[in-house]
């Protein structure tokens, strides 16, 4: 006798829904509760943010207080102070352009064609230089604007970029030193890395901003902004060093032995064999670390910088917009969200792409 296997008829729409969401009583309950939460929150949010919100500044704060929804007029009235801080009004296009530079630079360094040591260094070096010239001015007919007037998003991005720019090479140095065969060097470096990692970032920023000037000779103390960036770079590099070291451990030791057998010296072995492979292994974790350190730049608000969070506080904190704090925080949260979310999505994409390559 011949067995004929017939595929069951494709389930109808309702049957499909029943199977997916109401298979058992428990599933049905879970679905209903989730649906209720989603609809409730979604409606509340939409109603607050769009349907009952006030978008124009024409009515002033009074129109906002009368409405039940969000008061986006505070953003319309104060977006300049949130984004640019105390930067001189007529020059704010420079601050905006500097932000664009940083974004372009970040996007470029996400493209695999730029993933050689020289190209990435070039992109970041040129980007940072362009940013600095745009913000500080004093050349090319641009008016001079001191660091004390920098603020808002541009300052946040500056701290992030310079932290990575200093921290990344430092991280590679620390990782190499920690892997050194000389016990005193590896142990001392290990002590430094673990010491920094065990401290909260705020305490390091505080130490560099406020305490360090006591311990430095006057000519070395420099501007507070650069000291804070140095502290934040040190913190970044301590974490990144462990990531790089992990990547190095993933490189089979035979590779280095083969390079040695070919007669390559230490720097050739490191630069051509070990580091490229280690960086590839460490890429997902590295992007994750970038994401974290972008979020953590927000902490400089505590040592008294006028970055985007502080300028947001200033935007609602004084005068007639005192009630509109939720909208200001929502706006800043959106900015952070766009940056951080796209970076972390990119990291997840890379991880998938790389795991496909390895299979």
């Amino acid at each position: 006798m011949e067995m004929v296997i017939v595929a069951p008829p494709a389930p109808g729409k309702i049957e499909d829904l029943r199977r997916r969401f109401f298979a058992t009583p428990l599933q049905a309950l879970l679905s209903l509760v989730s649906l209720a939460i989603l609809v409730f929150l979604g409606w509340k949010l939409l109603n607050w943010a769009i349907f009952s919100a006030v978008f124009t500044t024409s009515g002033g704060p009074e129109a906002c207080q009368a409405a039940s929804g969000a008061c986006w007029s505070v953003i319309a009235a104060r977006w300049r102070i949130i984004l640019f801080g105390l930067y001189p009004f007529e020059e704010q296009w420079r601050s905006a352009l500097a932000c664009v530079t940083v974004v372009v630079m970040t996007v470029l360094s996400c493209i695999p064609a730029f993933w050689t040591g020289r190209r990435i260094a070039l992109v970041w070096g040129a980007g940072a230089a362009l940013y600095y010239v745009l913000m500080k001015g004093g050349v090319l007919g641009l008016a001079h604007v001191g660091e004390e007037a920098w603020g808002g998003l541009a300052l946040t991005l500056f701290i992030f970029v310079t932290t990575c720019l200093i921290g990344f090479p430092l991280a590679i140095c620390l990782a190499l030193l920690r892997r050194s065969e000389l016990p005193w060097i590896s142990r001392t470096t290990g002590l430094i890395i673990d010491g920094v990692r065990s401290l909260p970032l705020i305490s390091i920023l505080f130490t560099f901003a406020i305490v360090l000037p006591f311990a430095l000779p006057q000519w070395l103390a420099g501007d507070k902004l650069y000291r804070v960036i140095l502290g934040s770079a040190l913190f970044f590099s301590a974490y990144q060093a462990e990531i790089v070291r992990g990547g190095m451990q993933g490189v089979p030791s035979g590779q280095e032995e083969a390079a040695m057998a070919l007669g390559m010296n230490y720097w050739q072995r490191i630069g051509r064999i070990l580091l490229p492979q280690a960086m590839r292994n460490a890429l997902p974790a590295t992007i994750n670390q970038f994401v974290i350190s972008f979020k953590e730049t927000s902490l400089v608000v505590i040592v008294g910088f006028f970055e985007i969070l502080a300028s947001g506080n200033a935007a609602y904190g004084t005068g007639e917009w005192r009630f509109a704090y939720i909208e200001v925080y929502a706006f800043i949260a959106m900015i952070y969200f766009v940056f951080v979310f796209s970076l972390s999505r990119y990291g997840a994409y890379l991880e998938r792409r790389m795991s496909v390559g390895e299979r």
Binding site: W184, V211, F214, L299
Partner: protein
């Protein structure tokens, strides 16, 4: 001389001495310069200041504190505040994270969507922004006279008022211990080999243990109550102010909520990863043994997932413990803020920074040690080749 430099051993020793020596020299130079600078301001170095009275107040303290207390007492208060805020925040974050993580691993697509939205939103907004947000939200609540009321709680701009039992401090501590025992006892009874009973009886013994400990806690509370007042003290409006109950200051609740929500989004991912790492075969085997879905979950899935989660969770806990230092943004007197205040008031910069480092090192190391112990205790035992 040149032949000496060509000798590998000598060269290695030389490089090491140079490296360690230059770092030591840098640190030493910093300390010397700082001492000189501070001496110019008339500040003598040393740890004598620990025994002077501070002259300023803290706004939140678990122990009695006045401005006459010495610095070392304040540092102790700071560490206790950090640990207290940390443990409350960690506990809440773990609860949130477990719920959201389970939602993300469930087979229900709507629950998955909900969990995913939560994680995506709260992971991608800096913690300090969330702290600022909750703090602003709480301090914009109505004043005590027109407070929001719910289940005996009062929400006001001056803090959260919750009912407390009217019992003495010693009885309260004893009752807390008994409640902890009610949680630990069943676990211990389940693990100890002296009571090797079949599973059903073991559960009964565990339940009896937990009930006994809880009954103990209740009787301590009843026995230790203050005379002539109701057992529960509800906060209520009297005149212009709120009387009774326990006031949780806005700084504390803002930080605890922010840590719970932000940390919860990270812990949810750890929980999800842990459950994902449990092999499908294990669950199929458990099901084919005829275990009920609940049994499959509690006896197979959860223990295996916990083992995978614990090391990563330990890291996350250490991170969240350090995140309590954001208290300084809203004015909660955690350990870091007390150190910063001490530097401002006493000028003993180096000493205070040293204490800060030592304190956080101690906290981190003890957390790590605790988790290592737990990790070892629950590691799979038996016929594994690798230890």
């Amino acid at each position: 001389m040149s032949s000496l430099l060509r000798n590998q051993k000598v060269r290695n020793a030389f490089v090491q001495v140079l490296y360690v020596g230059s770092i030591a020299a840098l640190v030493l130079a910093g300390v010397v310069i700082a001492r000189r600078n501070l001496a110019e301001q008339g500040i003598t170095s040393g740890f004598d200041f620990l025994f002077k009275s501070t002259g300023w107040d803290v706004n939140f303290s678990l122990l009695p504190a006045t401005a006459n207390d010495p610095y070392w007492w304040y540092f102790l208060i700071g560490i206790l505040n950090t640990l207290f805020l940390g443990s409350v925040g960690l506990m809440l974050a773990t609860i949130v994270g477990t719920v959201v993580g389970l939602a993300r691993t469930s087979t229900n697509e709507l629950a998955q969507l909900l969990g995913r939205t939560y994680v995506d939103i709260f992971r991608n907004i800096p913690l300090i922004l969330q702290v600022f947000f909750w703090y602003a939200l709480i301090t914009h609540l109505p004043p005590p006279r027109s407070a929001h009321q719910a289940w005996g709680l009062l929400l006001t701009s001056r803090g959260l008022y919750v009912p407390v039992p009217n019992v003495g401090g010693a009885a309260m501590a004893a009752a807390t211990l008994a409640v902890v025992a009610a949680i630990v006892l069943p676990v211990w009874l389940g693990r100890t080999s002296r009571l090797s009973q079949p599973v059903g009886q073991r559960v009964t013994i565990q339940l009896i243990g937990a009930a006994a400990a809880l009954a103990c806690a209740a009787s301590i509370l009843v026995a230790g109550r203050l005379p002539d007042v109701p057992l529960l003290d509800f906060p209520a409006l009297q005149g212009l102010n709120l009387r009774g109950g326990l006031r949780i200051p806005p700084e504390f609740s803002a930080l605890a909520v922010a840590i719970a929500i932000y940390g919860g989004s990270y812990i949810a991912e750890i929980v999800r990863g842990g459950f994902k790492s449990v092999g499908k075969g294990q669950m199929e085997a458990a099901r084919s043994l005829g275990l009920s879905p609940w049994r499959v979950f509690t006896l197979v899935r959860l223990p295996l997932a916990l083992r995978a989660m614990l090391p990563i969770l330990a890291n996350q806990y250490v991170w969240l413990m350090k995140a309590t230092t954001m208290g300084i943004a809203v004015g909660f007197t955690d350990f870091f803020m007390i150190v910063a205040l001490a530097i401002n008031h006493s000028g003993q910069t180096l000493e205070a920074i040293g204490i800060l480092m030592a304190g956080f090192l101690a906290i981190n190391l003890s957390l790590a040690a605790m988790f290592n112990r737990i990790n070892k205790a629950i590691a799979l035992k038996g016929n594994q080749l690798r230890g």
